[in-house]
């Protein structure tokens, strides 16, 4: 069994002359809850897009559970669930259909699919809103649909890009609890968030990206020590990097 859930080696991604990700390398072990931090435009979302197949990249390699995301992209994608920052859905589709279709794309047979969709919608308290079109939902409910869609196929690696942006405290706490349950059950989670309190609460490992490069990586305890919070350390590291 491959111990690494995610291996990124020398990943390079350019948009024209702009280097968005500049040769980064890091691993996430199976069962890790990895907080991927960085200022806006640092390269977090671009890295996620490269992992999940939404973006091509110019250099390096990415493996998910030992599977190359380019050469064996179909097998690699079976392992991943993505909740992106943006609402990238058919806004006219019903909430339940959005989740249903995604379960189908992942090859879940019809009989099992209904149960999987019902379960994940119930988990996010979306059952009563299941027949509403996505565009009719509030911001928080939309976020729940995106999360349900990411989890319906029970992925081994869950990638959450700003999952709690714009959601109320209740959902945030429910989501935290749910993610912790998943992580305890052995799922690997990569989380990006600007809420460092959230990251401190959930993650056991932290990576900070700044200006397309990994500025720091380690256990949460490496960052939170000597009376300093994660936020203190984060500000120190990014400020130091920006001075370079």
């Amino acid at each position: 069994m491959n111990e690494k859930a995610l291996e990124i080696k020398n990943l390079k991604k350019e948009y024209g002359k702009n280097v968005a990700v500049n040769g980064i390398s890091f691993d996430i072990k199976q069962g890790d809850f990895f907080g991927f931090l960085g200022p806006n435009g640092a390269g977090k979302t671009t890295t996620i897009k490269c992992i999940t197949g939404i973006a091509n990249f110019q250099g390096g390699a990415i493996k998910v559970f030992g599977i190359d995301v380019v050469k064996e992209y179909r097998d690699a994608r079976k392992k991943i669930g993505l909740a992106p920052q943006e609402f990238n859905v058919d806004i006219f589709a019903k909430a339940k259909d959005i989740v249903w279709y995604m379960a189908g794309y992942y090859g879940i047979p019809t009989k099992e699919r209904q149960a999987a969709v019902d379960k994940v919608l119930a988990k996010f308290e979306m059952t009563e809103h299941a027949d509403k079109a996505f565009q009719e939902l509030s911001g928080g409910l939309k976020r729940r649909v995106i999360l349900a869609r990411a989890m319906v196929h029970d992925p081994d690696l869950l990638i959450l890009d700003e999952p709690t942006a714009g959601v109320d405290v209740e959902l945030r706490r429910d989501l935290w609890r749910y993610l912790q349950e998943m992580n305890k059950a052995g799922k690997t989670i990569l989380l990006t968030s600007h809420y460092l309190e959230e990251v401190s609460h959930l993650c056991n490992k932290i990576g900070i990206i700044n200006d397309g490069k990994i500025a720091a990586i380690g256990e949460l305890s490496d960052f939170v020590k000597d009376g300093k919070t994660l936020e203190d350390r984060y500000l120190e590291i990014t400020a130091k990097e920006n001075k370079k």
Partner: protein
């Protein structure tokens, strides 16, 4: 092959067609009804026999073909373009679907819409004439393969277009003129010699002529030649679309 994934994608595409059924189905049927009524019934009744059949029977295969072409093209181009625009294309990019399965999803959606609209036009025509289909298997084969050609072409335009205006360019300047000049309303022998030569290099002429042969048994070209042309187009366009999906042309960052 991820058959469940593919069938899910196809059902999503078909669901999208029925979600806006007035626009996707009723509009072309009403348009065809008017064409058949004006050109077939009013004008056609004064023409009398035309190439051995009534004018309405001569025109009908061309009208069916026009609608199959228009519907399959519109389906694939709008689907790809809108998925790009609202980024819901990411849903299939992150899923374990091969590029071939993604393309098949769009193409099968386009074929289904083309057939539903085309057969609907045929049923509308039954109000005015006892329209026949002499060779049903050939009719279906021709209809489906031409719908596949225009679904692939629609996908290319959907991938390429960066605006709604660009989305309609090919239809306005290429597809519509070549369809009308491809013998929908007239026999090639009615045209001046220069135009006849032009028609013979117009691929749409072979599409219309092949379907006319399948429906009423009249042909002005070699049906096998038309079939080979369609096969070459399906293969050529399919390969190009597959390559563009593989490199992520305008769908991947």
């Amino acid at each position: 092959m991820n058959f469940i994934g593919l069938s899910t994608f196809v059902s999503r595409e078909i669901g999208r067609m029925f979600r806006v059924w007035v626009q996707t189905l009723v509009t072309p049927w009403i348009s065809a009804l008017l064409y058949i009524f004006v050109f077939g019934e009013i004008v056609g009744s004064r023409i009398g026999d035309f190439a051995g059949v009534s004018y309405i029977d001569f025109v009908l295969p061309g009208l069916v073909m026009m609608n199959i072409i228009g519907s399959s093209f519109a389906h694939a181009s709008s689907s790809v373009y809108f998925m790009k625009w609202i980024r819901s294309i990411d849903e299939i990019l992150v899923a374990p679907l091969s590029y071939l399965e993604m393309i098949l999803g769009f193409v099968i959606g386009g074929i289904v819409r083309g057939l539903v609209v085309g057969i609907g036009v045929y049923i509308v025509a039954l109000l005015f004439t006892a329209a026949t289909i002499d060779h049903l298997a050939l009719f279906l084969l021709y209809s489906m393969s031409i719908a596949a050609v225009f679904s692939l072409l629609g996908m290319l335009v959907g991938l390429w277009a960066k605006s709604f205006e660009q989305l309609s360019l090919l239809n306005t300047f290429i597809i519509m003129p070549l369809t009308f000049l491809g013998g929908v309303f007239n026999s090639i022998h009615m045209l001046p010699e220069v135009m006849q030569k032009f028609t013979l290099i117009n691929p749409f002429f072979y599409f219309v002529d092949g379907l006319r042969f399948a429906m009423i048994g009249i042909r002005e070209s070699n049906v096998m030649g038309g079939a080979i042309l369609i096969a070459v187009l399906v293969f050529g366009l399919g390969t190009l679309v597959w390559y563009l999906f593989k490199i992520g042309y305008r769908i991947k960052d």
